[in-house]
Structures are given as structure tokens and as C-alpha cells.
Subunit: 528 residues, 2 copies
């Protein structure tokens, strides 16, 4: 049976004060699941940040191999979570069991991917420029650069991925892999799920001899603001709304010492269908596209929310089929009543908007969301009308029809930053695809061809990022091994005595790393 | 003879409107050199940003080899600048000719370093994860990641390095190397120097067939704010004061689309002398240290402005010698009358401050700066008194004496972020050095041993960066090849047809790049 205390995880302690007034709710009807949680007090938030800072002294100096064992142990603990765990996660999110189990596999797989990278030891290429004592007019000193952990990281998880983008999700994995302790602010939509996941992480930390405070978790609504303002916190990871991310960024910038916020926020993920692809496989695209934008009730950050094509009789036929498919789509339960209310309000605003024309609506059911499809007026789109450009969280999409190729380019040039942009193009579409690619590449972190953006592979090559407002830092990714870059910084040692060099920078290259030595990539020792 | 028009460089045009009301001034006495400049109008600032954006369409797609030729041509043009150039640069900055020629060599050398890196083609390691069609439960798509240029960059140069951190300085070199066009806002302290340098860059662009607008320059005082707010600008490079950097960051954050500002701002660059080193070579350290903090009239961002030691009779003796050396140091002309006024005000504030005790003053001369040394009260230091912690631009330093090793650790823990931290340690100091290292490493981008931080080597391993307020982004460097990272972002192509893959990601690896293919670093082609 589940063993939940509803308390914070702060270093080696579990604490909670006052009433356990935060209620875990069932997604399906908003009724209490029965589990209750203690809202962290300001001093508990501070204590969690301090526990992370205390842990950083040791954890920041651990070897990559030691951290790899820790991450692999977390993966094992996650994989050991049983039916009770999935039952409560399902209650809290309404996500189907198969989906939750798949997401668990993805989450433990992500921990193992980082563990493998750390074991491999080649995430970064140390740089060594050896001394040139005889250089004129000035000698060159010995300079050696490696990467070190930033410090304690505050992480805010998302509601829509209670595992993969939450307590033990990508931000937590990347921060821990980098050597940064984590303070996680639990999402109120799945607090019981969060407590059980945190228990798995803390268990893994104990098993692998990591310092208490390497992972901490606090519950509460507004307590996250205090966490971001705490001087011990050196970076923030966030997945959620544009409004939420912007608020955290503002707080982080107002600190005496501003810190980076890596926020993944908002995208409509355009999907552009070029004429030959449309003609050749329009019917198949209709099926797959509706499946993609209604997948998980449209609650994916990569939901294709904008469908773009060039006007033609073929396109008209395609749109008729699309409307037909949407109208047959089944209603679904959203993550929680607030998400449903947000979707319904967004739908109402769009219904009343002159720049949008309703095209289709899916089947309805009480307390569930039904799919929606609108046609966007190109003039309103080009005028950067907010309602047309902003994400609507839920099973909806807009259709945007271009008059011709030139108009298509103009419409796409008006796009904001995106996580993804998708191009359906057959071989005969290649000339037009070539013209669109630089434009889409400027506006998205991932470009897909003849596929659907929902589903983000966790690997070395993935980029889950993009220009604002998709994320707050276009130079990073929040998924895959690239995500570790966010939590590392370079340090250069000049003329350091051999006895004080870290292993990564020692002449003998004891870690057998690939290094850039005097401009050349090599695993060879440095010759004195 | 010098050919200066005082006009902006905007794309292929030179423009100027109204009166040429900006005066180039002689550093030594603030009198006009005779050269006059047109302040850019708001529409000229916009035009410069638009010219950069127009150039980006082509320049962002150039091959690394083409950009390498451009950068090498800039280096050649810089090296061809003659005596007229150095004469005006000397007039505008009071920097000695030998220093200016050394700085020119460093500046052209920096362009060549980036050119070499681009030629080598191994600045970045593309990542390829090939498709796994038979994987269960879901197949893996083909994913390929490379880096692309961010877009037009606005650069603000520093007064103290009219070449190396100005028009053709590190930020410009890194942005151009990345494929980003530049709009440079000329520093008012050396406008004639800036115009001549811009002419060299534009000449090189023409010679190597780069698009007009790849480099633009505007003159003016407050026009930089408009530039940072222009939607075409995607990042900002800045070297200067904490106040100036903070103002630009605020503007950049207030944009509809916030953009990163890479600002190098403020540091006191602590230099810690451990007991055995002090005993063994205190006399030598006195000489070298005074030479370092008065070098270039103390106008280096890496000036060692804080000297830290543990109290002892040896330390007292060392401090006596240090005071003696300071009192004999010669007065120097600062970069301009405003810099001198700022230094004098800073000196006056420190003289009146109860947390600081005057220890020594260098020789005086009218219109020149004399060296200053104060003792800082440890209590005021630990209380984070601003005047003790902030940089004073000019030939001054503070002395901070610790009671013992524990006190030393506490004093250093109170340090803000720094560009550098220096440790003088002999072999017998190693145990204490080991305790200090993690603490200093948390607070500085470069750690020096038994040396002096003035002088920043331009190479692969250098880090010229550090935690706030040293810079606005601790994860980067503004000097050396690492600086290119600031202006690149990752893009991932998923299931891209072979015909649409860029050379860096093609199966055959036509650029012979080191790539990470399915987790392994290799130059081999991808096997289909």
C-alpha cells in the first residue's frame, strides 16, 4: 500500500508544518483522491535551497562515474515503481495506464542515457593550450579548460508529463548529471505521484552514497517564487505556460545576482503540407494529423496546432476530409478541471474572434474536451493577432491557407519561435522545400519531414528547444544529452601546479578523454 | 592622410544627417582632435539592423571556409593599418604606441584564430542518431543535429581596448565566425579609431564577396538602446560597466522577443597570497603585483584589485614594501577625462569610507591618475559593503588581511563573481590551496597560479567570463574560440530527405567532420 506523508523532502529530513491543506485531486472529476500535502513554508523553501547548497560542496566534486551510478540507480528505482504508483498517477492525471508506463520507460531511459554519457566521459572536450615559454614578444602560459557544475538548480515540472517532464524528468536528470543538486517544486496537479517519484530518487541517492540534499522536493502553490529568489539557487528549469515562465524569468532577473531560467513554454508547431505531398497522400495525412493533434487530448507541447497549405481544389478536398475526421474524434478527459476550463475559455475566445472561422468540432461529452478546428484569416495572421499565434492547450488546431508560394513564404515568415516545424514534401516538392527550410530553421529547434511532431525521441541528436516564446534560451535543449550544457560552465586554470589539476586536465589523461590539445583533438597524454 | 567622413556604415552605404556634432577628443586633455562624427538617427539605427538582417539570409548560409577567408582578410586589413591609424588611436586613448601595436597584433591574431577554427571545421560536433525502424514499442526516426547562426548581433565595444574589445574585437570576431552579421555601436571615446577599423572590415568583406550589411557601424550616445530593441537583432555583445550592461539587459528582456545579452562587466579579481609563497618571494610579488594593478593605468578588466593574505609578521613586512612600491609609482594619463573624473570620484568616496583605511598613494601630476592602496576592514567586507566589493576603474587596489585560514575561507566565500582569481602558492601551501580551490572555482572563470591576471591569452582554452557581476552569462567566454558558442544554436532535422541535408549532416560526411554517430565519435560516413 502507498506510504505517503505529504511532507517536503529537505536534505535527510521529511518536514511539514501546520495543516496538510493541499489536496490531491482526481483528474476526472476534481474530487479529492484522499491524499493531502503540507504546503512548504518560506523557511522550508529556504531550508531546501540550503540543503542543496550544502550538498553541492560534495556533489559538485563527484566523478562523472559516481554520478552515472546514481542516475542508473534512479532509473532502477523508477522501474521498480509498482501498480500502486500507476494507479495514483492515473487518478491524478487521467492519463491512460499504457501511456503512463511508456512515459516511465522513457523517464528511466533518459536517466540511463545521461548515465551512459557520463560513463563514456565524452560529453565535453577539455581544452589544453600548453605553455610556450620562448614565444615573443610574450611567453604563453599553460591554459587548461574544463566544465564544472553551476550549483543548485530549482526545477518546476509540467502537468502534462507527470514523469518525463516532472520530478525525475529531463531537467532533473540533466542537472544531476552535471553535478548540480536539485530542489524540485512539485506540480499541484500530481502531488502524490511527485512524492512517490521523489522517494525513488532519494532512495537511489542513499543507495549510491550521495549526500543528503542532492535532491529535495517542496509542495505548494506560490512557494516557487521564493525558491527562485534564494541566493543558493544558480539556475532554474521550467516547463509550462508562457505566463508562468515569464514570471519566473522576471523574478530571476530581479535578483541581486540574476540567474538563467531555462523555460520551455509555448508553441503552435506549424505543419506545412506542400502540394505534391498533399496530392499523393492527403487521405493518410488527414488520419495521422488528427491523431497527432488530439493525442493525449492535445496536451503535448509539440502538438501540431497550425496546418498550412496552398489553396487548390486538392487542398479543399483535403480540408473536407480533415473536418470529417475531426468531427468523428472522441471526447477526452483533460489533465485536471483547470486545464479543461482553460481549454473551454480558449475555445470561447476563438469562437468569438473575427479572424477565426469554425471548421469542425469533435464529439462532445460532459466534463470532457472535444476537438476543434478553425480556419485562420491570413490578414489577421500577418497582423500578428495574438489569438491566432498563441498556443491553445487542448485538442485544437488552426488551418491557414496560402494563395500561392509567395504568400506561403510570407505567412511562415510571420511565425513566432517554435519547438518544431514540420514539412510534408514529396520529391517533386523539393524546390519549394529548399526555399522554406532556412525560414523554418530560423524559427524552430526541430524540423520534421513527412512526420508528426508529437513524440520527442530522447537521444544525443534531439533538440527540444527553439526561439522565444517556445523557450527562453534558443541555444539549448530540454530533452536529450545536450540538455546537460545548461547546467555547466567553463573554468580555465592558468599555470596550475600538476598537484592541483583535476583528472580531466592532467597531463597523463587518466580519464582517457578526447581533448583539444594545442588545437588538435586527441586522447594522447600531454607531452611535457 | 586619414580619410574620415564621420558617417555611419549601413550596408553598402555611408550616411550621415544634420550636423556632425559628435567630437573626437584627445585623451590627454579632452580637446578636440578635429574629427567630427554624425550621430545616427533612429531611422539609421533601424536601417543598420535591417541591413544586417538582409545580409543574414546569405551570410548565415555561407560555408565555414568562406567565413574563414573573410576573417583572414579582416586580419590582413587590420595588419595593414599604418602610422596614421596609430597616431589617431593614441590621440583618442592616450595608450602608448607599443601597447596599441601589440593590441592590433592580438586583434588580427584573434581573427586568424577563428579563421583557423572554421577551416579546421571541428568547432562543433554534429550529432546523428540513425533510424531504428524495428525498435519496439516505437521505431526511432532519423535525427541529425547541427549548429546554425543566431542572427544579427549588436556589439558594444569597450573604451579600454580600442582594438581587441572594440570594432573588430572578440565579440565581432565570434559573431562573424558564427555566421551572424554585426551592427557595431562605436564607442564615443575612440570614434576615429572605430571608423578606420570599420573601413578595414568593410574592405575585407568586399574583397571576399561577403554581402553588404555583414558589418555595420553607427555612431552616437544613446542610440544603442534603439539598436537593442530592434526586432532584427538576436543577441548583444557588450564590454563595459555593470551599470551599462545592466541597462542593456533590461532593454533586451523587455522586448516582445527577449534576446540574450553577453555582457562582460565588473570584477575586482582577487589575488590571494598563501604564507609559504609570501615568505619565499614576497619582494618579487610586490614588484610584479604593483606593475600588474597599475598596468595601463589600472584600466584592465582583469586588474588585480583585491590582495588577500593571512596576517603575520611576514605579511606586515610585505605590506610595508607594497606601500613603498605604490608610493613610488608614476602617475598616468587615463583613457579620457571622464575616466579620470570617475576614478577621482571613486577615490574620494573610498577616502571618506569608514571601512577603508588609506595605505599608500602614488606620485601625482595634474590631469593624471595616481595609484592608490587601501586596507579593507574585514567586517565591512563580510557585510558585503558595496564600495569594498565593486570595481574601481583605475590604478587602485584593496588589501584584505585574514586572521587565520578559517577566516581566509570566510572572506573568500563573500566574494562576488569574478573574471579571475589568482593564487600564489608554493608547494608547502598545497593543502591550503586545495581547500581554497573549489571556493575560488565557484566564483571565477579563470584561476591563475603564481602569476598576474592582466593579459588574457587568446586561444582555445581561455575563459574570459565568470559569475555575475563579472558577466551576465557564466556559461560562456568573451575571449578565445569558446566565444563562438554564444552566437550559435542547435537545430535538429528529423527524417530529412538526403537532398535537404546540409553538408555537416550528410551520410558521406563531405566536410570530414568529427561527428557523434549513434553515440560514438567518428569521422566515418554514416552507413545506410
Amino acid at each position: 500500500m502507498l506510504n505517503l506523508t505529504g511532507q517536503q523532502f529537505i536534505g535527510a529530513e521529511r518536514t511539514g508544518s501546520g495543516e496538510a491543506s493541499l489536496l490531491s485531486l482526481r483528474a476526472v472529476d476534481g474530487k479529492p483522491t484522499g491524499w493531502r500535502f503540507y504546503a512548504a513554508t518560506p523557511s522550508e523553501a529556504d531550508a531546501a535551497a540550503c540543503a542543496a547548497q550544502a550538498a553541492f560542496a560534495d556533489y559538485g566534486q563527484t566523478s562523472p562515474q559516481a554520478r552515472a551510478l546514481f542516475l542508473a540507480a534512479i532509473a532502477d528505482e523508477l522501474d521498480a515503481l509498482g501498480d500502486d504508483f500507476f494507479d495514483i498517477a492515473h487518478q491524478e492525471t487521467a492519463l491512460p495506464l499504457a501511456r503512463l508506463k511508456g512515459e516511465r520507460a522513457r523517464t528511466s531511459g533518459q536517466m540511463r542515457l545521461f548515465a551512459d554519457m557520463l560513463q563514456r566521459g565524452d560529453a565535453f572536450i577539455p581544452r589544453i593550450d600548453t605553455a610556450l615559454a620562448d614565444r615573443t614578444p610574450l611567453p604563453r602560459p599553460d591554459l587548461r579548460q574544463y566544465r564544472v557544475a553551476l550549483g543548485p538548480v530549482a526545477v518546476f515540472g509540467a502537468s502534462n508529463f507527470p514523469l518525463a517532464f516532472s520530478t525525475a524528468g529531463g531537467d532533473t536528470a540533466a542537472a544531476l548529471a552535471a553535478g548540480c543538486p536539485v530542489v524540485f517544486k512539485a506540480h499541484e496537479g500530481h502531488m502524490a505521484t511527485a512524492e512517490l517519484t521523489a522517494g525513488a530518487i532519494v532512495q537511489a541517492a542513499a543507495r549510491t552514497g550521495m549526500p543528503p540534499g542532492v535532491f529535495n522536493l517542496i509542495f505548494g502553490g506560490h512557494i516557487g517564487a521564493r525558491l527562485v529568489q534564494h541566493p543558493a539557487i544558480q539556475a532554474v528549469g521550467f516547463t509550462g505556460s508562457l505566463r508562468g515562465g515569464s514570471a519566473l524569468i522576471k523574478l530571476a532577473q530581479q535578483r541581486t545576482q540574476p540567474i538563467p531560467v531555462f523555460a520551455e513554454m509555448s508553441a503552435v508547431n506549424p505543419l506545412v503540407i506542400l502540394p505534391h505531398a498533399l496530392a499523393a497522400r492527403g487521405a493518410q495525412i488527414v488520419q495521422d494529423l488528427v491523431a497527432s493533434f488530439t493525442l493525449g487530448c492535445g496536451q503535448f507541447c509539440t502538438k501540431p496546432g497550425l496546418i498550412v497549405a496552398i489553396r487548390s481544389p486538392t487542398t479543399s478536398d483535403f480540408l473536407s476530409r480533415l473536418c470529417e475526421a475531426v468531427s468523428q474524434s472522441a471526447p477526452q478527459t483533460m489533465l485536471n478541471p483547470a486545464a479543461l476550463a482553460g481549454y473551454q475559455q480558449g475555445v470561447a475566445r476563438r469562437e468569438a474572434h473575427t479572424g477565426l472561422t469554425p471548421l469542425a468540432q469533435g464529439r462532445c461529452a460532459p466534463e470532457q474536451a472535444s476537438a476543434r478546428l478553425w480556419r485562420a484569416a491570413p490578414e489577421a495572421w500577418l497582423a500578428k493577432d495574438e489569438l491566432l499565434h498563441e498556443e491553445l492547450f487542448g485538442p485544437s488546431a488552426l488551418v491557414l491557407e496560402a494563395d500561392d508560394e509567395q504568400h506561403l513564404l510570407a505567412l511562415l515568415a510571420a511565425l513566432q519561435g517554435q519547438l518544431t516545424a514540420t514539412l510534408h514534401a514529396d520529391e517533386a516538392d523539393t524546390p519549394l522545400a529548399r526555399r522554406l527550410l532556412p525560414l523554418l530553421g530560423d524559427r524552430a529547434g526541430r524540423l520534421l519531414f513527412n512526420g508528426y511532431p508529437t513524440g520527442v525521441e530522447v537521444c544525443d541528436a534531439i533538440v527540444h528547444g527553439g526561439p522565444w516564446p517556445a523557450t527562453s534560451d534558443v541555444r539549448t535543449s530540454s530533452v536529450g544529452t545536450l540538455a546537460i550544457d545548461r547546467f555547466l560552465r567553463p573554468v580555465c586554470l592558468q599555470n596550475a601546479p600538476a598537484a592541483l589539476l583535476p583528472p580531466a586536465l592532467q597531463d597523463s589523461n587518466p580519464l582517457n578523454l578526447l581533448r583539444r590539445v594545442n588545437g588538435t583533438l586527441t586522447r594522447s597524454p600531454v607531452q611535457p
